[in-house]
Amino acid sequence: MKRINALVLIFLILIFSYLIIADIKKPKIFVVHSYSPEYLWVKKINNAINSKLQDKKYVTIHYFYMDSKHHPEKNYLEKVGKKARDLIYSWKPNVLIACNDDAQNYVAKYFVNDPSINIVFCGTSADPSIYGYKNAKNVTGIVENIPFDAAKQVFLSQFPQFKKVLHISDGSTTSQYVNQEFLRYKWQPLKLTGSFLTNDFSQWKKHILGAARYADFIYLTHYHTIRDQGRYVTPQELIKWTLANSPIPIIGSFEFFVADGGPFAVTVSATEQGEVAIKLALEIIESQKQGGEIPIVQNKVIGISSRQPRFNHDFPHNKIQGIYYSFARESGRHYQDDNKSI
């Protein structure tokens, strides 16, 4: 009996040790968002990630938010970036998912070719090579380019009266890269008549109020780092003023524009960014590949987002075409003025 008891004891010690070690060695994913959790873009990415992880409970996930929209200052970003990097060094995740440009700039690029971690980037408007991702052994991801071709098609079919486009956005890092894309893109038969970037609300107001001199409509991208004499202007407040004062209609390029009160947007899909990022992360974990072995993905999905009755107010000569309306409704991106998406 003593022999049995000794064997049972050894068995139990080994079992508990095994469970503890296996638990510690669970695959870990660290997600760094450039922005804050209440931002719709971030919410959609997180929803996509979490829904893919529903059946992968053995994957431990940790989120970190840099909140760069509220704090675009370089000092702050360096400080918060270091904090994220320290967390990564201590937690030792298998995969780092870095969302949007600040997360690449202040966190992910420090781990390029680090054999202990793989990087999956998403939401980057910049060329990945500027972060050293080109030919890196441990990096893959999905780029986020404004869907210019799709947007142009929508503009031409939905708003045939518009010929001249004006781009206005904040002056954030991401917007700098987006601006380069705007300037590079061949807009014919439309014409890009200007692209203004500013972080100052008074400048913003000036650009909006004078927009009719340049264009038939404004194509709006980011607007989350605008300050009014040092005071942070909330996106809702900014869009409210902009819609009330713009002499020409405004079309957004992200769903958050419509969520903040705008009438219409041809959007990049945050859900696609999240879904592809987590898919790549899981592929790295489950197939034990290095990030560099998996090709970088180009975003393919576009979204249409609309709001009634705001659309009818801003575009009295246009009715939302059935296909866009259906698309927006089907994908849960059609808003009513009670601000609920349906």
Partner: protein, 472 residues
């Protein structure tokens, strides 16, 4: 208790060997599976499962412990979502088994069957055939109501003992053995014929696809198994006609009357037992005709009994087989985990062409499944074999050859065709009983082996009937 007793009796050397394997095999599995491209969940579940399998094989712990170990380990490591790992605890099977255990607890506690058996013995003709028939019928009658075979043995063993005592038969005599076999045949052999005949039926039923569960009400299950039951009954009749021939048995009426007097008037609990049995029969009828979940009707009966105070907290705590309930819940969760991780299709991946060869017509499929279950039972025993092989074989079921229900039924039937006593849970009961009172257990073993073949024939003879019913 008997299982623990038998566990203790397993030789020290065998148990030591088992524990050594429980340490070594998972390590081997770990090093082998590490080389494969399977993910974390798959790899670690196989390691955990190998530990549980060794525990089962060598009866190192009570049978309810391995599935609980699997659940806790899969939850700790997050191998599957909680709703999969714990699915057994929210399944119909769990509530039906729980309710039937409650019902059985009242029947056992009331001792109604002891009174009924004495009364029937007093009025029974003085020959072995009629007494055999009486004991057989009692077992058969209890089968759909008292779900655990061991509970049925618990209920009928006093009746058997009373009969032996009153007939002044010696243990091991041919007459005593024939009565024992009759009681055993009624209690055990027709367990698969009724949906609620044994816990494995309910566990497997819960793993059947939704549309099949909807089709197979309690009554339809009985209809589907009718020919199998008829064939088995005919063989049983022939066996008693030619092997255990009719003998005159004189029962001592004085002993029986004294026993009856000792019992006194019908107690309230006995009346409640009768009422509960009738209510359950009514529930079976209602559930079969109106398609109301039998588990909830049975649960309602149990709830009523608890509200009325008939099922006391003490009985609820002590006389419901909680370890077995956890076992059933754990094993259902384990099966869902296997399906969720696609281990079922992986396990037979290499064997798929061979398995497919047998799945070309219902007869070869039944022969293959029966033999496979029979062989695996040598290693794992009846219940683990049943619940393991069902999800593993399910991917090979082609609806034009064999349906999931037929697969389930063949597995259930084959698992009862055990060869050695260690394979079967209720045989452990006989081992335990045999340590207290001697009776000829070898007769039961021989009888069961012979009946394994009869089960096999009965299944093959049922194929045409299943085709007629549209089940095949």
């Amino acid at each position: 208790m008997y299982a623990l007793q038998v566990m203790k009796n397993t030789t020290i050397n065998v148990r030591s060997f088992g524990w050594i394997l429980a340490i070594v095999i998972p390590m081997l599995v770990y090093f082998l599976i590490k080389q494969t491209p399977h993910n974390y969940a798959f790899q670690h579940f196989l390691i955990i499962f190998s530990i549980a399998a060794i525990m089962w094989m060598f009866r190192l712990v009570h049978e309810s412990i391995p599935p609980l170990f699997i659940i806790s380990a899969t939850m700790i490591l997050g191998i599957v979502p909680a709703d999969i790992a714990l699915s057994g605890f929210i399944s119909d099977a769990f509530f039906l088994t729980f309710s039937l255990f409650g019902l059985a607890a009242i029947i056992i506690k009331s001792g109604i069957f002891k009174r009924l058996s004495i009364m029937m013995c007093l009025n029974a003709p003085q020959n072995s055939t009629r007494l055999q028939f009486f004991l057989f019928l009692s077992g058969l009658g209890l089968s759909p109501i008292v779900v655990a075979q061991i509970n049925r043995l618990d209920i009928l063993m006093p009746a058997y003992k009373e009969t032996i005592k009153a007939a002044k038969l010696t243990d091991g005599s041919q007459a005593a053995t024939s009565l024992l076999i009759a009681m055993y045949a009624g209690t055990i052999f027709f367990s698969e014929i009724f949906l609620t005949g044994k816990t494995s039926n309910i566990a497997i039923y819960s793993l059947l696809p939704d549309e099949i569960r909807h089709q197979f009400t309690w009554a339809y299950w009985l209809l589907a198994t009718a020919v199998t039951a008829a064939v088995m009954l005919i063989f049983l009749f022939l066996l008693f006609r030619f092997v255990y021939k009719k003998q005159t048995i004189i029962l001592d009426r004085n002993i029986l009357l004294t026993e009856l007097q000792k019992l006194g008037k019908m107690t309230e609990l006995e009346w409640i037992s009768i009422f509960s049995i009738m209510a359950f029969i009514l529930a079976i009828i209602i559930s079969s005709f109106f398609r109301i979940g039998l588990c909830w009707l049975a649960f309602a009966i149990l709830f009523s009994l608890m509200t009325y105070g008939s099922l006391s907290v003490e009985v609820f705590r002590k006389d419901i087989n909680w370890s077995f309930l956890f076992y059933i819940a754990g094993i259902i969760g384990m099966m869902h985990t296997i399906q969720y991780l696609h281990i079922d299709s992986w396990a037979f991946q290499g064997l798929a062409p061979s398995v497919d060869k047998f799945m070309t017509n219902p007869y070869t499929a039944i022969v293959f499944i029966f033999i496979l279950v029979f062989l695996v039972c040598f290693i794992l025993g009846t219940i683990p074999t049943t619940v393991l092989l069902f999800p593993l074989l399910l991917p090979y079921v082609h609806s034009d050859i064999i349906t999931p229900w037929v697969l389930a039924f063949v597995i259930l039937m084959a698992a009862e065709a055990w060869w050695f006593t260690y394979q079967s849970t209720y045989q452990l009961y006989f081992d335990y009983m045999n340590q207290q009172e001697k009776f000829d257990k070898s007769a039961i073993v021989k009888f069961n082996r012979c009946y394994g073949l009869i089960r096999f024939i009965a299944l093959l003879l049922s194929v045409s009937y299943w085709k007629y019913l549209g089940i095949l």
